[in-house]
Symmetry: C2
């Protein structure tokens, strides 16, 4: 089953559009693994997917303890996303994607700055061959995002200046990406990007909570999935926080967005 | 000793300005490690530093077998560079850099698109605190590099359009980066970037050989270090190829560049 469909199925089955960002602060590898497994167990009925980043990959090892986390997510039938933000030359991108897919991840994130030819083309090729997904960064959630993602790019063909994130959104559409990442901290940009992507490319929105983004605003402007990490992972009761977040998204969505 | 100085010392001691890109094709982890160690042993007197990428980090594990490779490089007094192309939000970038530095790497590469505030600032902070280095990608070596690195950016302050790579070069200078990466496949761009960076930020140039870049052209246009991978690692006799490359760079440099 293609990744996009897998996400929709998980969304329907769980009634949740929350992607858990299992990005834990620095700790000893043994403790990191125990903590990650505990949180995933506690919240798995309130989320529709799990996203990992280098917080766990580097200390635990992709083919080491990360395997048991991916296995746990598979047991819960939750798709897994590796937030590796691929941005190397084609040959290297291919090897990175092959490793993550071989390790069991269902999707990877990638940075469109690197371009298509000998850039992200090999990543999309491998993803298509194996029903995996590629999510394109369109506008990131941090304060400095304006500097690169917000810059204006001069388009030679028509003499116009177009925002970088709109160019990345157009590439996500053209390349048939399985998702576009737009920070919940910039709800107006979610709306602009959504008007480019329509139903074709779902928007994944990180930055809820710890970074200041709000659920209601992200959803009403067109985000389909909310990527939430620290609000859940650093709380004393991840299960109840995740449940409350799920209910909050359901309330927002039932208001007829 | 600061990373930039460490590189200069290694350059003087070895008489080489070649950074070995130990990026091996897919293989079983055990074979990868043996092959990597063999190549490093064979060529270590002909290179001034070692660069690793996800080719080895992902299958071997950063705190697994990669440790013995870093130790081997340290035994040869060769600085190590992790080509991770950092491009995440500040909190994550910090954790990525901390892991790589803790594992023993002397420097990391980073993508300036992510910006400064809550972007690369934490990476530079950690690097400065621990005498490690940060190399900024300015123009990559692959065919699709024109798409992002070659785009024109509209500068609101003066109404001009400036090439993305020149903006990245200016950031590398402003942020006091320890190096700037410009593909040897684009010698004219090395020259342009060098005219921005001067002596402040040395240029590291990948893309020699397998990708089509030429030693003489890269050096005469201002590259200080040449990053060479497949030409050495895929050859039948890495030692003699590395020695010949070192001699070729010495000949180029002795022509009074």
């Amino acid at each position: 089953m293609p990744f996009k469909q897998k996400m929709e199925d998980a969304n329907k089955r769980t009634g949740s559009n929350i992607v858990l960002a299992l990005d834990l602060p620095l700790n000893k590898p043994g403790k990191l693994l125990i903590k990650a497994k505990e949180i995933l167990k506690a919240v798995h009925t309130h989320i529709c997917a799990v996203k990992l980043n280098r917080h766990l990959i580097l200390p635990l090892g992709l083919f080491g303890d990360v395997q048991s986390l991916i296995g746990q997510a598979e047991d819960y039938e939750l798709p897994t996303i590796m937030d590796c933000k691929i941005n190397d030359i084609g040959n290297t991108n291919q090897i990175i994607a092959e490793h993550y897919f071989k390790a069991g991840f269902d999707a990877v994130t990638a940075n469109a700055l690197v371009g298509w030819e000998d850039g992200l083309l090999p990543v999309f090729d491998i993803a298509r061959q194996s029903n995996r997904g590629v999510l394109i960064l369109v506008y990131m959630s941090h304060k400095g995002a304006w500097e690169g993602y917000g810059q204006k790019v001069f388009i030679h063909e028509n003499g116009r200046n177009v925002s970088q994130y709109k160019i990345f959104a157009q590439k996500a559409l053209k390349w048939k990406a399985d998702g576009a990442v737009v920070g919940a901290t910039y709800p107006k940009k979610i709306k602009e990007v959504n008007s480019i992507l329509g139903e074709e490319v779902p928007i994944y929105s990180p930055g809820i909570g710890a970074q200041g983004g709000q659920i209601q605003k992200a959803l009403e402007n067109g985000a389909k999935y909310l990527i939430i990490g620290r609000t859940i992972t650093l709380s004393k009761n991840p299960s109840s926080v995740a449940r409350d977040l799920k209910l909050a998204t359901q309330r927002s969505l039932s208001k007829g967005l």
